[in-house]
């Protein structure tokens, strides 16, 4: 990166759409579904027939209030719905019911990122573009599936508080974990139940103004979004460095090529002509609704990470890693609960390190689905802590546990992996090693302490790794008179 481009910093804001996992749509009684035959969940309301009246789904409002509470937002005492007018086949009314100047919630935060607002709206239909080329461009007709039309959404808009692609990914994952923990959405980015757009601009370091921003649409994973945002920051820096200007546009990042493409560049500026929705009365959450939302909050990932760090002494990175996925947090806590002598920090390292790694290697994801129970992993960790098996042996035991669910005690017994804890036996092996490697022993005695490694190796070989390395070194040094 050249010196000139380092003088700029990125300013990033996110817009996240969360599909709520209610039974029915936002304004009608059609079922929500994913992957059903097209247009089997439609009615005159979600098809936008004339003369119909929408009625908001109480549970969607409750879920919205739970999200507002989790993000520590102020809830508007009285918010109203607006019509956002636009003409497109995914929207039969030619307007989307959304919220405009008085959103459900505003002024919140999650971690270090401020939440500008969170409002309720309805999702659009799904377009299936068909044409000779099979691509969007050049197709002459489109098919429309209204199953998704009217699905309740909460749109969460952050302040432009993020500064890098990596931060976007980490924070996005925290938000997803938080909403998932609430149980109000499936938050599946591949299926579109959580969608994230990023607004990216750059400015000279230290300035407080905002540069022209571009919008990156709809990436289906936070990893891709991270890469797309990084690519866009770099592109903007290069533009400015070469004396050009950033143009406001919507971009798509292609993760396979790493390229950014402009979308709808000819599109005129948005002109949604918002107007109050006359078919819906104001929403005025009463104390009972607000209290219920507050009372429903489980321990959220950010609070859990803080507790793991401050109360259990787990290092911050591992604490965040464990907290962000409910399944992992639950597994970790069960490991701890299985044996109170286990050090939380040690258990955390095993769960996030060796165990998570071994699951991945064997193509598994969810610890809850693993053949390894928290109790048996706890058992293994205890054996290592008590020096009954070496770390190296424990890794091969774990591999077996993940593969076939065997009991760690049984594997250790069967394969004779228990460490030699009898000092007398170990001393005999140490003596034999010194005798069998007289030259090396002489070098060590003569002051070349590094050479002791060869003797340690000889002992480990003799014991097939069943000796504790530290103990072996101690005995060797003692025997050599060091």
């Amino acid at each position: 990166m050249s010196g000139a481009t380092d003088e700029f910093e990125a300013v990033i804001g996110l817009e996240i759409h969360v599909q709520l996992s209610t039974e029915t749509k936002m304004f009608c009684g059609c079922r929500l579904s994913f992957g059903d035959e097209p247009n089997v969940h439609t009615c005159p309301i979600c098809l936008g027939h004339p003369g119909v009246l929408p009625v908001p789904n109480r549970r969607a409002i409750e879920y919205g209030l739970q999200i507002a509470a989790a993000l520590e937002c102020d809830v508007a005492p009285r918010s109203i719905f607006h019509r956002k007018n636009y003409f497109y086949p995914d929207n039969p009314k030619a307007y989307q019911i959304s919220q405009f100047d008085i959103p459900l919630a505003s002024n919140g935060h999650l971690g270090e990122v401020r939440i500008h607002r969170a409002h309720l709206e309805e999702d659009a239909a799904k377009m299936i573009h068909v044409g000779t080329s099979g691509r969007i461009q050049g197709s002459d007709t489109s098919l429309v599936d209204f199953n998704r039309a009217g699905t309740p959404l909460v749109e969460i808009v952050t302040e432009p508080d993020l500064t890098s692609g990596a931060q976007v990914r980490e924070w996005g994952q925290l938000l997803r974990a938080t909403v998932k923990q609430l149980g109000v959405s499936n938050v599946n980015m591949e299926e579109g139940s959580l969608r994230c757009d990023a607004n990216v601009s750059i400015r000279p370091v230290g300035s407080s103004g905002l540069g022209t921003k571009t919008e990156m649409k709809n990436m289906n994973s936070f990893r891709y979004l991270e890469r797309g945002v990084e690519a866009e920051i770099e592109r903007q820096k290069q533009l400015v460095a070469s004396g050009e200007r950033v143009v406001q546009e919507t971009l798509h990042f292609d993760p396979s090529s790493g390229e950014l493409h402009s979308l709808r560049s000819k599109e005129e500026s948005h002109d949604y002509r918002y107007m109050p929705e006359p078919d819906l009365v104001p929403l005025a959450p009463d104390t009972a609704m607000l209290d219920a939302a507050a009372a429903s909050l489980p321990e959220l990932p950010a609070a859990r990470a803080e507790r793991y760090h401050s109360e259990l002494g787990i290092q911050e990175g591992a604490a965040r890693l464990l907290s962000v996925e409910t399944e992992w947090a639950a597994f970790f806590e069960d490991v701890l609960g299985s044996d109170e002598s286990i050090e939380p920090r040690v258990a955390a390292n095993w769960v996030t390190g060796e165990f998570a790694g071994e699951l991945r290697r064997q193509g598994e994801q969810d610890p809850a689905d693993s053949r390894v129970s928290p109790k048996s992993l706890g058992n293994l960790v205890s054996m290592v802590s008590a020096n009954r098996v070496s770390h190296g042996s424990a890794k091969s035991v774990l591999e077996r546990m993940v593969a076939d669910g065997s009991d760690p005690e049984a594997i250790v017994r069967e394969q004779g992996l228990e460490q030699i804890s009898d000092t007398g036996e170990l001393q005999r092996i140490v003596d034999a090693a010194i005798e069998g490697n007289a030259k090396v022993a002489e070098q060590v005695r003569g002051g070349n302490e590094k050479a002791i490694g060869a003797l340690v190796g000889a002992v480990m070989k003799e014991t097939r790794g069943r000796a504790d390395g530290g103990e072996v070194t101690r005995l060797l040094r003692q025997s050599l008179g060091l």
């Binding site: 209610t22 039974e23 029915t24 009608c28 009684g29 059609c30 079922r31 035959e37 097209p38 247009n39 089997v40 969940h41 439609t42 009615c43 005159p44 098809l47 027939h49 009625v55 908001p56 789904n57 109480r58 549970r59 969607a60 409002i61 009285r78 109203i80 007018n85 636009y86 003409f87 497109y88 086949p89 030619a94 377009m127 299936i128 573009h129 044409g131 969007i136 461009q137 050049g138 197709s139 002459d140 007709t141 489109s142 098919l143 429309v144 599936d145 209204f146 005129e268 002109d271 002509r273 109050p276 006359p278 819906l280 009365v281 104001p282 929403l283 005025a284 959450p285 009463d286």
Partner: protein
């Protein structure tokens, strides 16, 4: 009088293609509608809360209970064109 370009802009937002005569009469009609609505500006609304709804109701909500949807044949029959169980429309990418 509303600008001709503004009429074209609104027509474009609504995907309407207007002939020259339609454009001229639309310009005239829209102007008189706007002038009429502008008369509201003469009313003193100092200290009056904006009204978004004329009926003093709040929180009219329904329970999250599924109700039967339409048979697909019925809903698709309302449309000018359908295919493969879906509504078929001219591609929105095509220029009008």
């Amino acid at each position: 009088m509303i600008e001709r370009d503004q009429v074209l802009h609104v027509a474009r937002l609504s995907r309407l293609k207007l002939s020259e005569e339609e454009l001229a009469s639309m310009q005239k009609d829209m102007s008189s509608i706007l002038d009429h609505v502008d008369r509201l500006a003469e009313i003193d609304i100092e200290g009056i809360e904006p009204t978004s709804h004329v009926v003093p109701l709040e929180n009219v909500l329904r329970d999250d209970v599924p109700r039967p949807s339409l048979d697909r044949e019925v809903s698709l029959a309302q449309a000018p064109d359908a295919a493969d169980g879906a509504f078929r429309v001219p591609s929105p990418q095509a220029e009008i």
